[in-house]
């Protein structure tokens, strides 16, 4: 009998890095997306070193087709398209993270407060969120940009403001679900302050769908930046941005149509990568909810 009894090996949760690696191994799409984004990030950091030419140096060699010196040709001012594409990467990443950051900074505390406090605070917040969600998002972003002043940072703050009601609503629902759990009641009975309860118990347990949503919103922010820069409200010339490059290339589309492909594909791939990462995170973090909203 006693020989059959083995000491019970402690069941330990695998370490964070172990779990991270097994996640990437199980989801090829997420691994590829993460690798792509890391490359994009490196390109952004080392753009000055990696780009073969200056993104703003003009030359007499205008609208040249791709060759050995200019891999993607030159634009209407004789600037190297490939270098402008590389220098557009940091703009894009900065824009996406800024918008999502602003959205989180406003949406997260408001949503948690509404969900945790309940009562009239929740009622009023809910109405305000409903009202703000009836605004067509890009139009509202443009209106806010017009008020704050045109430029990349202001337009992305505007996009972040537009994101905030949706994020607030998401975390509000999660907070309501979590706040009635037994451990929160226990913490309250022990006399833990509301701020500490929110920080130690509610936030860690309610945040997962929020993380998924924020990752997906990076793609939305990127597309918004492209649209706003395309419309001349975002990145200002001569700074390059993918959306603005598309706007320029549209002007001479009949002369060199090939120039509108690279920036568009760059936007598409980056948005795909953010989305794939978000979808994969949803499968890992949030097994109960498969539908996006």
């Amino acid at each position: 009998m006693s020989a059959a009894l083995q000491p019970v090996r402690a069941v330990r949760r695998p370490s964070a890095s172990r779990r991270f690696l097994s996640w990437l191994r199980s989801d090829l799409r997420a691994a590829v997306s993460l690798a792509y984004l890391l490359v994009l990030f490196s390109l952004s950091v080392f753009a000055d070193v990696l780009a073969p030419h200056s993104p703003i140096a003009q030359s007499m060699d205008m609208l040249a087709p791709p060759d050995a010196a200019h891999w993607l040709g030159t634009d209407d001012l004789g600037r190297d398209v490939f270098s402008r594409l590389i220098h557009g990467a940091p703009m894009t990443l900065y824009a996406s993270f800024l918008a999502v950051g602003v959205g989180t900074l406003i949406g997260l505390p408001v949503g948690i407060m509404a969900g945790y406090l309940g009562g009239w605070v929740d009622g009023l917040t809910g109405r305000i969120i409903d009202a703000l969600l009836s605004f067509p998002s890009i139009v509202l972003a443009i209106a806010v940009t017009g008020a704050l002043g045109i430029g990349l940072t202001n337009s992305m703050i505007a996009v972040g403001i537009v994101f905030s009601p949706g994020l607030a609503r998401l975390i509000r629902v999660q907070t309501i679900v979590v706040k009635n759990d037994l451990y929160v009641d226990a913490a309250r009975t022990f006399g833990m302050s509301p701020l500490r309860i929110v920080w130690r118990h509610i936030l860690p347990n309610a945040i997962q769908p929020f993380i998924v949503q924020v990752t997906l919103l990076l793609a939305t922010a990127l597309l918004a930046e492209a649209s706003l820069s395309f419309l001349g409200l975002g990145v200002q010339p001569p700074q390059p941005s993918w959306g603005q490059m598309l706007a320029r290339s549209y002007g001479y589309m009949e002369i060199s149509p090939e120039q509108m492909y690279a920036p568009g594909l760059a936007i598409l791939f980056t948005a795909l990568a953010f989305n794939a990462l978000g979808e994969s995170l949803r499968a890992v973090l949030d097994p109960t909810r498969r539908r996006s909203d």
Partner: protein
């Protein structure tokens, strides 16, 4: 329609009132976001002191904020959305003149999104994890991630400049020349529809998968009903509510996304108006466009809400 439903409609209408009021506060508040003295910002760098004072008086900026709001709201309720600071024309006239162009491509995009997205969603949901499903979901992921204005540019290059099937830019009145209006609207609507097609496909697919794997569908199978009959009579009936919700969402997004599409196709709609006026700091026009668009979205959401309660008896009981 019974008394309970009438009561329900009444209460829904009442619920809209605070949303509209809060929306007007937000629209009015746009001006408060302007850093520094809005009148000086609007007047521009080289404005004289008189011009700045003029603008301040025109916008009522010399009065307390709440008073400004009440006056603005009072005018807005009477259909007076002030006048453009640049052209001096009444804002509402300009918005209403351009609105049909925007609504035409938005509604057309919505129709395309439903006509293409619904079959794709059904196709994928009934063939889960098979090649057809993989292809459809891949297309849908692409549709969500593609910048619609870029797609518009490609469509112009291919179908308008290359094949010459459609005009490249501009718009025509639907009432005066319907055929020309539709040929102008076709490409922009298609570009605008991609996001909606993808969204409807994805949402319908996952809703339908959920319904088809539910207990009562298993019972129907056990009763010997054919797959087709289960799908058409039970599955689609149950996902129609999801579809309704998504349609509202897609319309709202399309109404926003049309801004970049209007720029690509040079369509004189509300989107191009809001871009031009935001660039020129013509705030009464910006506020006017946003106000009208928000009213349209709120109206549509109300309609969807009402349809919802008529279609789904469970909503009534609550």
């Amino acid at each position: 329609m019974n008394r309970r439903q009438l009561l329900l409609i009444g209460s829904r209408l009442l619920q809209v009132v605070p949303v509209v009021i809060l929306a007007t506060v937000a629209i009015f508040g746009l001006l408060q976001l302007v850093p520094g003295d809005p009148a000086a910002v609007i007047a521009g760098e080289y404005a004289t002191a008189e011009r700045i004072a003029d603008i301040r008086r025109m916008l009522g900026l010399d009065r307390p904020v709440w008073e400004q709001y009440v006056v603005w709201l009072g005018h807005a309720v009477q259909g007076d959305l002030s006048a453009s600071l640049i052209t001096g024309q009444p804002v509402l006239d300009e918005v209403l003149r351009r609105l049909p162009n925007t609504l035409l491509i938005t509604v057309l995009a919505l129709v395309l999104a439903v006509l293409i997205g619904v079959p794709l969603g059904i196709l994928a949901a009934t063939r889960v994890d098979r090649p057809t499903d993989r292809i459809v979901t891949t297309i849908a992921s692409l549709g969500v991630a593609v910048p619609n204005f870029w797609l518009g540019m490609i469509l112009v290059g291919f179908f308008a400049l290359g094949l010459g099937w459609f005009p490249t830019t501009g718009a025509a009145s639907l009432t005066q020349d319907p055929l020309r209006a539709l040929s102008h609207a076709a490409l922009p609507a298609l570009a605008l529809a991609t996001g909606g097609i993808a969204e409807i496909t994805r949402q319908l697919r996952s809703a339908l998968i959920e319904v088809l794997s539910s207990q009562y569908v298993r019972t129907l199978h056990a009763k010997g009903l054919s797959n087709a009959r289960i799908l058409w009579q039970h599955g689609l009936k149950n996902v129609s509510l999801t579809l309704l919700t998504v349609v509202g969402l897609v319309f709202n997004r399309a109404l926003g996304a049309t801004v970049a599409i209007e720029a690509v196709f040079a369509i004189p709609g509300t989107g191009s108006l809001v871009v031009a006026s935001a660039t020129n700091k013509d705030f009464p026009v910006v506020q006017g466009v946003v106000f009208v668009l928000v009213l349209i979205v709120i109206g549509l959401n109300l309609m969807i809400d009402l349809l919802y309660s008529l279609l789904d008896p469970r909503v009534n009981r609550r």
